[in-house]
């Protein structure tokens, strides 16, 4: 057994729920303690949020001006420098973790297990391959450190009520200057976050235009739902890239997922397999999405969406 280190994801003030899901995964791995590390300019507040997660032993925050933004080239050497006491180093399989963790693995000279969906043993895990069409059981060597990302949709958030110790840590690492942060362009939105929303409405290319997609947004607002989309809808420019759900976009696990005009290509459905209830509306009765839908309706989305919206009052 050994200690587990989880790299916290945050936006400078708030801890991302993907970190909590890493804790849930870690509690399934035999361990001598689960620690979280926060890299920030002044991370005490974020660290105290992490300290409230049940099952966490200690939260470390490494405060440094260089940690103002999540740059893998800056954070990875700091993780590597503090890795010594840990047997497992986990990060979320969000774009933050996908960028950072392989760089950490590279610095440590170890392989990485991406997208842990099930813990079988301390070094044995299940993970999806081929867009979720083949689930492999992979066994990492126990005599090396294990670096892994945790598939957020496979885990619930950890319970609150923890009271882990919070400590400032200074890390001695050479930080490169070859990588500089520019800016983040995020569409301003007061809608629920796609990755954490309990309800998600997704649209496909069948919506036909950016303007028609407004129907989806209106219905989503009524249901308090987040909006997602297929690659085709994003490529067509109807919605921004961060709404893409699937193999190369976001993997989501809402309680309710409603698909409008989505045929059900494996590259998309791999992103929704963990949803509680899947509803599909498509005018093509042969669409593969009906094979996996809990509730299916063969109908034209252009009549269904307005009708649903008005009937939901």
């Amino acid at each position: 057994m050994g200690r587990i280190l989880i790299i916290a994801e945050h936006d400078g003030s708030t801890l991302n729920s993907s970190t909590s899901k890493c804790v849930s995964c870690a509690t399934g791995i035999e361990n001598d303690g689960i620690d979280i590390v926060v890299f920030a300019t002044s991370g005490a507040d974020i660290a105290s949020q992490a300290a409230g997660l049940a099952g966490v032993a200690k939260v470390l925050h490494v405060d440094n001006e260089a940690n103002a933004k999540p740059l893998a080239a800056i954070i990875a050497p700091q993780v590597a420098a503090m890795a010594e006491p840990y047997s497992h180093i986990l990060g979320p399989s969000t774009t933050f973790g996908k960028d950072l963790m392989p760089r950490v693995a590279g610095l440590l000279g170890v392989g990485q297990v991406s997208d842990i969906m099930t813990v079988i043993g301390p070094y044995t895990f299940q993970r999806p391959t081929y867009a979720g069409e083949a689930i492999i059981t992979v066994e990492a060597s126990a005599d090396r450190k294990l670096v892994a990302t945790v598939r957020s949709a496979s885990y619930k958030t950890a319970a609150s009520g923890g009271s882990a110790a919070v400590e400032a840590l200074s890390v001695d690492a050479n930080l490169p200057t070859h990588t500089r942060y520019g800016e983040l362009k995020a569409a301003a939105s007061d809608r629920p976050d796609l990755q954490t929303a309990s309800r998600v409405i997704c649209g496909g290319r069948a919506l036909g235009s950016k303007e028609n997609f407004d129907m989806v947004f209106k219905l989503a607002d009524k249901l308090g739902a987040a909006v997602g989309a297929t690659r085709a809808a994003v490529d067509a420019g109807y919605v921004p890239n961060e709404t893409q759900v699937g193999q190369t976009g976001k993997i989501i696990a809402p309680e309710l997922y409603i698909a409008f005009g989505i045929s059900g290509a494996i590259q998309h459905v791999t992103g929704i397999k963990d949803a509680g209830t899947i509803v599909a509306v498509n005018k093509d009765a042969e669409a593969p999405i009906f094979e996996m839908a809990d509730i299916g309706l063969v109908a034209d989305l252009f009549t269904v969406i307005p009708e649903l919206e008005s009937k939901l009052g």
Binding site: D115, P176, H178, K185, K250, L297
Partner: protein, 249 residues
């Protein structure tokens, strides 16, 4: 830039329906169409566009894999790569070993830019680019949807969960291509003919001085759990009552 190196992985084609072998030893690849990993194809397309803009002189396509991976490299040459290198092996090459192998090629070729796909659609690992950047001790820009170059630097737009992020990296650097970086060109017949005369060098792991160190044993491969087929409803009222029955409305 003088040289751009692009990694092309041979994978089961995007359109093939994946079937897990009944004995759980892997997925069926016999007689299955193989292609360039789509993200790597985007990586190559970007390198070609950079060269065509006059910002690079040579594009080298490299692959690590069996002798048959020559087919994918020939396709890469037909798309417009100037030459190709196959590191031939029949072993399953893990991401870290792939990164170590690419590093050896970098040491030989000294490219200013390396572009690979952000993930391969077979193992879905998404590791090689960032591992390579770590081993090379150079910048990485993963999930790239736009890139421009000036004064020995690349300004990159990355697709991240919260939107679009820009970063600036000094060259040499490793980029990993996301879907919307570009749309790869179609290969035309004359280009396929021309590609046959372009140089394709084959080297072995031993030639490069790489000893594979597998660390991740694949114990078993299973098909995914299937969801139960649900109910069909007739109309919107039926949909609303089905949702109410489940306590979702």
């Amino acid at each position: 830039m003088k040289k751009i190196m692009v990694g092309l992985k041979r994978v089961v084609d995007y359109n093939v329906r994946i079937r897990v072998k009944p004995d759980g030893s892997g997925v069926i690849t016999d007689g299955v169409k193989m292609s360039i990993n789509p993200f790597d194809e985007i990586a190559l397309e970007e390198a070609l566009r950079i060269k065509e803009r006059g910002e690079a002189e040579e594009v080298i396509a490299v692959s690590i894999g069996p002798a048959d991976a020559q087919q994918q490299l020939r396709t890469g040459l037909a798309m417009g790569a100037d030459r190709a290198i196959l590191v031939q092996t029949d072993e399953l090459v893990e991401s870290l070993d792939a990164a170590r192998t690419l590093l050896k090629l970098i040491e030989k070729e000294s490219p200013e830019l390396v572009i690979v796909g952000k993930q391969a659609i077979d193992d879905d690992n998404g590791q090689t680019g960032a591992m390579l950047a770590a081993l090379w001790d150079r910048p990485q820009a993963t999930c790239v949807s736009e890139v421009t170059f000036a004064d020995g630097k690349a300004t990159v737009t990355r697709e991240v969960d919260s939107g679009l992020e820009t970063i600036e990296v000094d060259l040499p650097a490793v980029l990993t291509a996301d879907l919307r970086l570009n749309e790869p060109r179609y290969v035309k017949l004359p280009d396929i003919m021309k590609a046959k005369r372009k140089p394709l060098e084959t080297v072995s792991m031993e030639d490069l001085g790489v000893a594979l160190e597998p660390q991740l044993k694949i114990v078993k491969t299973d098909p995914p759990a299937q969801r139960q087929k649900g109910v069909m409803v007739e109309d919107v009222d039926g949909l609303i009552s089905a949702l109410k029955d489940k306590g979702l409305l």
